[in-house]
Symmetry: C2
C-alpha cells in the first residue's frame, strides 16, 4: 500500500510545524483544508478529501479517493460528516476556533463544513495559509530550482523553433511541445476561479496592446473570446518583438520566466524600455532582503521607470497592470505581491517572480521576468538565462 | 469601441429569456453572476466584473476589465460596492430575492456580495444556472458541432503520429500539438476547484488501473503526484491498448470524445468489453429522448454490462467511477449526469458525453465516448468517427 505522505518526515514536521506556529499566533485551534494547492504544499500529493491540522501533533488525512493509500492517521471517508467522530473532544467545546479556507472554498461547501463544528467559531484560514505558502522549505526550494533549470533550457531553444512566416500561435505550440516533452506538467495553477490561462502567454507585436480581462501583467486578444489572453494567430512581423512567458511547472512548483525575441531591428524606445526592465531586476537583486517591504520594491521600479520617461508604457499601454511582481510556487499568484499598496514584507524563503514589462506601440512587449529566491544574505535567480533581446532567425 | 455582447440580439434574448423564466419559476427577482462559465454562456465573452440579471428586461454589464468595451447597459466599476447605485429601487425593498452563485463563488466573496443587498434574501442560483446551461440554444449547438467536427478530425490522425518505442506521454504531446495547431484553445474548464486536468487523458496499458483522486471516468498515475491523472511516461507495449480522451475545446464549447488504439492483438475480453461499450452507445441513441430519466439510461448501461458479465471491469477495476455520462458544453461537468441516483431528466438541447468504459487488467482501458445532442425526435452524434479499436502501426 502506497504511503499517502510523499515527503520526508523531516519535511513534513517542518511544513506542519510552521503552519501550527502561524495558527497559534492567530489563536486558531484546528484547521480543515481541502484546497488542492494547500494539500500539495503539506504532503506532496493531491487527493480527494480533507486534512485536519490540529494545534499540535500530526495531521489527520481524510481520504475519499484514490483507493489504497496508507500511513499514519489515514482515515477513509465517504463524506465530510464522518470527520468529527475522528477528532478529539476539544472541537465540540465552546471557545474552539476552527480555520476554514474561506477565500477559496465555495460558499455552500463552507456552510456544510461549518455544520461539522456546531460549537466552534469559524475563522478564515486563508491569510494564514497564504503566509505559510509564501515561505518555501528546503525541499520546496529544491523543486523550484529543478523547475527553473528546465524552464531556462526551453528558452535557450526558442530561436531554433522559429521559421519565417510563423504566427505567434504556431511558435507557441512548438514551445509547448518542447516543454511538455521535457516533462512540463502543463497545468498552470492560479488561486481563485476568475483567472485562466492555458500553458503560457506568447505575444507578438501590437497584440501586446490588446487588453485582457485577466489580472496578468500583459494581455493579448487570444484566439477566441472564450479565452481572451495571449497569442491571436497573427504572423510575426519584421521590426516587432515576441514576448515569451511560458509555464515552468515541471515539479508541481512552478517558476515564472519571460524573455523577448525580435524579428529584425526594433526601435530605440523598445531597446531602452527593455534595458530599464533589466536594470529594475538588477536593483531588485541588490535590494530584496528579508524585512524589506514589497511596496518599497515597487516604488524602486516605478521611480526608475519615471526617471527614464517610460511611465506610459510601463505594465501596459492601453491598459495597465497594478503590480510588478508576485510570489510563486504551486500557484502563480502567491505572496508576496510587489505592488504600490502591498502590505507584504519579504521573508527568507520567499520566491518572487519579478516582471517589469512595457508595451511599446507598433513594436510589442519588452522586458524580462525572473523567479528569485530571497535568502538571508542575498537573492538567487532560479531562472538563469541571457536577458537581452534575442534575434529570431 | 468594441461591443461587450458578442452574440446576436436574437441569441441574447433567447439565452436571457430562458434564464429569466427559470428565475421566475423559483421566485428569484434578480441574479448577480461573475463565474466565467456563466458569463460566457450569457454574452459570448469573458470579462472581469459582474452581470446583473433582472426578472425582466436586459442584463446590466458591470465591467472592471478589459478597458474600452461598449454597448447597451455597460457600466464600468472598480468594486462591487458600486453596483447597487445602478439597480432599481426594488432591490432594497423587503421581500426581494437575489440569486448568487453559491456553489462556485468563494465564501468570503459571497459575504461581500450579500452586503450589497442588505434588505434582500439571498438564494442559491447555482441550480437554476445549471439547468439553464444544460439546454443549449441554436447558437451554442453550432459551436458544439464545430468543436466536434474538428475534434473527430484529430482522432483520425492518431495512427500517423505513433512511432515504435513511443511512451504514452510522447504520443499525447504530439496529439496536443496537432490539436492546438488546428485551433484547440487548450483550456479544459471544469466546475469546482478540486478537479484538474491538463489537455486530456491518454492512458496506455496497466496505467489505466492506477486510481486517481479526481472524479473522472478513468484514472492513470500521471507524470507527477502534483497532477495524478493520465499518462505516466511508460512505453506503449505490444498487446495493450491506448485510450485517447483529448480536449475538444475549439470554440469555448467543448465536445468530449474517446477512442481506443491497440499495439498488436489484444485479449478477447478486451474486445468484448469494447463491443459492449459500442452497444451501450447504440442503445443510448435509440432511447435518449426529451423526458427520459438520466438514471434509466444508467440502468440500461449497467444491465447490459451485467448481462455480459463485465461488471468488475466497468468504469474502472481497482477503483470505479459512479457515472457513465455527463452534460458538456463550456465545462466538462454540466447537467444532465447519467448516474444511478441522478434526478436529471433529458431535455431537448442537452449535450451529453456518454463514456461507457472498462479497465481490463494487463491490457488497458477500452470503450468509446461520444458527445450526443438530444433533439426532439432523436439523437445527433457530434463526434462522428469510426468506433472500433484502431491498430497503431
Amino acid at each position: 500500500m502506497e504511503n499517502l505522505v510523499l515527503i520526508s518526515e523531516e519535511e513534513l514536521r517542518l511544513r506542519c510545524g510552521r503552519l501550527q506556529s502561524l495558527m497559534e499566533a492567530v489563536g486558531m485551534n484546528g484547521m480543515l483544508i481541502s484546497d488542492n494547492a494547500n494539500m500539495l504544499a503539506l504532503c506532496g500529493r493531491i487527493f480527494a478529501g480533507y486534512i485536519w491540522i490540529p494545534a499540535t501533533g500530526l495531521p489527520v488525512w481524510f481520504v475519499r479517493r484514490p483507493v489504497e493509500l496508507g500511513g499514519m492517521n489515514v482515515v477513509y471517508i465517504h463524506k465530510p460528516e464522518q470527520i468529527p467522530a475522528h477528532l478529539g473532544e476539544e472541537v465540540s467545546r465552546g471557545g474552539f476556533t476552527v480555520g476554514l479556507e474561506l477565500d477559496v472554498t465555495a460558499y455552500s461547501h463552507v456552510e456544510r463544513l461549518k455544520s461539522l463544528f456546531p460549537e466552534a467559531s469559524v475563522a478564515n484560514a486563508s491569510a494564514v495559509l497564504r503566509m505559510w505558502r509564501a515561505v518555501k522549505t528546503p525541499g520546496q526550494i529544491e523543486m523550484m530550482r529543478k523547475s527553473g533549470m528546465k524552464h531556462a533550457q526551453i528558452y535557450r531553444k526558442v530561436g531554433g523553433l522559429y521559421s519565417p512566416g510563423m504566427t505567434d500561435h504556431e511558435l507557441q505550440v512548438e514551445l509547448e511541445r518542447l516543454s511538455r516533452l521535457q516533462g512540463c506538467l502543463g497545468v498552470f495553477r492560479i488561486s481563485g476561479s476568475s483567472m485562466e490561462l492555458f500553458m503560457g502567454n506568447v505575444i507578438a507585436g501590437d497584440n501586446a496592446d490588446n487588453p485582457t480581462p485577466y489580472d496578468f501583467a500583459m494581455g493579448g486578444a487570444g484566439l477566441d473570446p472564450a479565452l481572451p489572453v495571449g497569442a491571436d494567430g497573427e504572423e510575426i512581423r519584421e521590426h516587432t518583438t515576441v514576448m515569451i512567458d511560458l509555464n515552468g511547472n515541471f515539479t508541481g512548483y512552478m517558476t515564472d520566466m519571460t524573455r523577448v525575441y525580435a524579428l529584425g531591428s526594433v526601435s530605440q524606445l523598445a531597446l531602452d524600455a527593455h534595458r530599464c526592465s533589466i536594470d529594475i531586476c538588477r536593483r531588485f537583486v541588490d535590494m530584496a532582503r528579508p524585512g524589506v517591504a514589497a511596496k518599497e520594491l515597487y516604488a524602486m521600479a516605478e521611480d526608475l521607470v519615471k526617471e527614464r520617461g517610460l511611465g506610459r508604457y510601463f505594465m501596459g499601454h492601453r491598459q495597465h497592470a497594478g503590480f510588478v511582481g508576485h510570489g510563486i510556487g504551486i500557484e502563480v499568484n502567491e505572496a508576496p505581491v510587489i505592488a504600490p499598496r502591498s502590505r507584504d514584507i519579504l521573508a527568507e524563503g520567499n520566491t518572487v517572480a519579478l516582471e517589469p514589462k512595457f508595451v511599446i506601440p507598433h513594436v510589442g512587449a519588452v522586458g524580462i521576468e525572473n523567479t528569485y529566491l530571497i535568502k538571508s544574505d542575498g537573492v538567487e535567480c532560479l531562472t538563469p538565462c541571457d536577458e537581452e533581446i534575442v534575434p529570431l532567425v
